[in-house]
């Protein structure tokens, strides 16, 4: 009797299980990002190309409102809930400390919608209903003091920190400003005056190719140094330039790479 059971498992159950697992993997689907600096991979602990002595300390950003265009209509693309994704928002990036935490991939719930060549768009932002929540109740990628400012201001939707080997440092932290609430520890009831949402649209995306995030283009025109950092102060000229770079149509910060890259 046991022999028969084993035979059944061998013949039918195991192959079926393996097949369904494989199918599951195919369905998972991903959008991959590659951080680059002047076309070279932007790696931890390596001096940045053309910026002698500077290296990345950490680089993180939230991606939300991911949508795909179908027959001239935008349709949401759902994300799986994973260590790096929660409620259809993903945290991408890397920390160059000993922990080596990093994630450069969005896991989609269903890949069949993004096969072939499609147009997609997303926001580098934390959705308003998540942005000003009680940090103690925050789950997963939102339970992150590194990215959280205060209830009033919400999260840093993007943070890039660099340092040089001569002791200088530079930071670019993007987040909402002009948020109206009784104190730093109270959430605003309405969207902030300047939410600083970065909109990204990628036409004719081939889902097999990675998305390049070109950090050199992001900081084009900025001389690295603490005097030119930007912590989302709207009046700072460095902030104005950096946000302009991020939203520029002509200067590609995020674009589709080649398979060969």
């Amino acid at each position: 009797m046991f022999f028969n059971t084993v035979a059944i498992i061998k013949k039918f159950v195991l192959p079926l299980t393996i097949f369904s697992l494989l199918m599951g993997c195919e369905k998972a689907g991903t959008i991959n990002f590659e951080p680059k600096f002047n076309s070279h991979p932007a790696l931890c602990h390596e001096t940045l190309n053309k910026h002698q002595g500077w290296k990345i300390d950490q680089f993180w950003f939230y991606v939300s409102d991911l949508e795909i265009k179908e027959q001239d209509q935008w349709r949401p693309l759902a994300m799986k809930d994973t260590k790096w994704q929660h409620d259809n928002t993903a945290l991408l990036g890397m920390h160059c400390n000993e922990s080596g935490d990093n994630n450069w991939q969005i896991d989609l719930s269903n890949v069949s919608a993004i096969d072939g060549t499609r147009t997609i768009k997303f926001k580098i932002a934390v959705p308003f209903d998540k942005n000003h929540q009680n940090p103690l109740k925050a789950q997963g990628i939102f339970d992150n003091a590194n990215m959280f400012w205060t209830w009033q201001q919400g999260y840093k939707s993007l943070r890039l920190d660099m340092s040089s080997n001569n002791g200088d440092a530079w930071s670019f932290h993007v987040g909402a400003v002009g948020c109206n609430s009784p104190s730093a520890l109270r959430a605003p009831k309405q969207q902030c005056r300047q939410p600083n949402i970065i909109n990204v649209t990628l036409n004719e995306l081939n889902h097999g190719k990675p998305l390049i995030i070109e950090i050199a283009n992001l900081m084009k025109g900025i001389e690295l140094g603490h005097q030119n950092r930007c912590l989302s102060m709207p009046m700072q000229s460095s902030c104005q330039l950096l946000m302009s770079n991020m939203n520029s149509k002509s200067l590609s910060v995020i674009f589709q790479g080649d398979n060969n890259e």
Binding site: S99, L136, N146, W149, G167, S183, L185
Partner: protein, 379 residues
């Protein structure tokens, strides 16, 4: 039968994959929504172990010469710190560092001032007990004498309740002290009433102004003192990122090989990386009003002086052996860049820091000296 064995094994594997470990029964004294600290599996929390740890914590018999207990340098009224610039061990040796407060240490990502490898209290506690340079409790070489002194009716009872039999050894002593230290939770300050219990009247207008300054990009305090425990060196059951929060705050910039006082170069001593010179773990600011003097070496006396130090973006020492401009230290954190505060703003900020004082914590009888230990001292 082999096939039967394989099937049974497979079933067992599947069952074990599906089950989670039995959750611990200890009820953490945490407000709603706070994450639980992470506890080593080999030393789960229990009320009886905490109680044994509390007795040991206050017992001078735990030091070789009977002159000191843990509480000699970790005084409850001072949020389990002491008021000295540098701690003094049981034999009178002066420690190079300031005694750290034991406030929410269960949430610490790492322990001591500057060691990213000491991540459990069980390992940390070995230092004050056994270290010989400097001698603190002076246990090394005196283990049997100490265990003999602790072989009392009371300890036999407490040990049996905590561990199931009456045998007290240093493994159990360390585990109990670690459990007691983990139980020292302080999350009931006026700030907590305001922030997490939504009591708008818990803070004064001055404290709210100070809080807004604290969380502003102008001052940038929260970059290092962020999160519910006011330090990025925090870990808990939901923590995702390991931030390894050690910073050089521009306290020194001396002449010499390290640009830092050679008796204590901070994290560099552990990692050997030059960028770690002068980097120390960010301490919590909870109960900071009570834990003066400040910094790893106790070299800043008051909260007012600490704010002046950060406003200047570091410390410029103009004479003596530590002469040098800390503001220019090559390893200084970019978030210590200085700021302008007028006197009212400064007072607001100090008032806010005082709103982090948890009176229930420093008067909680569950953390206090047990009557039996107190009585034994008086005999």
């Amino acid at each position: 039968m082999n096939k039967v064995g394989v099937i049974i094994a497979l079933v067992l594997v599947l069952i074990s994959c599906g089950d989670k470990e039995e959750s611990e029964t200890y009820q953490w004294p945490l407000p709603v929504d706070f994450p639980k600290p992470q506890v080593p599996v080999e030393n789960p929390m229990s009320v009886t172990k905490i109680e044994l740890g509390r007795h040991l914590f206050y017992d001078k018999n735990l030091s070789a010469n009977g002159s000191q207990s843990c509480s000699s340098c970790h005084v409850q009224a001072l949020a389990f710190s002491d008021a000295r610039k540098n701690s003094v061990g049981s034999t009178g040796e002066v420690h190079r560092r300031n005694s750290q407060a034991l406030v929410n240490v269960a949430f610490n990502r790492s322990l001591t001032w500057a060691n990213d490898e000491i991540v459990t209290l069980e390992r940390q506690i070995l230092l004050p007990l056994f270290s010989q340079e400097p001698v603190e409790m002076g246990v090394s070489g005196h283990e049997s004498d100490i265990l003999r002194k602790l072989d009392t009716v009371n300890y036999r009872r407490l040990t049996k309740e905590a561990f199931g039999d009456e045998v007290l050894d240093f493994d159990r002593i360390v585990k109990s002290l670690a459990s007691f230290s983990r139980s020292l939770i302080s999350l009931n300050s006026p700030f907590d009433q305001y922030a997490y219990k939504m009591d708008d009247d818990a803070l004064t207008p001055s404290q709210i102004r100070g809080m807004n300054l604290f969380f502003s990009e102008k001052l940038e305090c929260h970059h290092c003192h962020g999160g519910f425990n006011f330090t990025q060196s925090t870990t808990h059951e939901k923590q995702q990122l390991d931030l390894r929060a050690f910073h050089n705050t521009g306290l020194y910039n001396t002449a010499g090989q390290y640009n830092y006082p050679e008796q204590d170069t901070g994290l560099y001593e552990v990692t050997g990386k030059t960028q770690d010179i002068g980097r120390f773990r960010t301490p919590t600011l909870r109960n900071i009003e009570l834990t003066a003097p400040y910094m790893h070496d106790g070299s800043i006396t008051t909260l007012s002086d600490v704010l002046d130090f950060y406003a200047l973006g570091g410390r410029h020492i103009t004479q003596g052996s530590f002469k040098g401009d800390g503001r220019e230290n090559i390893n200084k954190s970019q978030f210590v860049k200085g700021f302008d505060l007028d006197e009212t703003q400064k007072q607001d900020l100090i008032n806010f820091l005082k709103a982090l004082t948890d009176v229930t914590f420093i008067t909680n009888p569950a953390h206090s000296e047990p009557l039996t230990v107190k009585a034994a001292k008086q005999e």
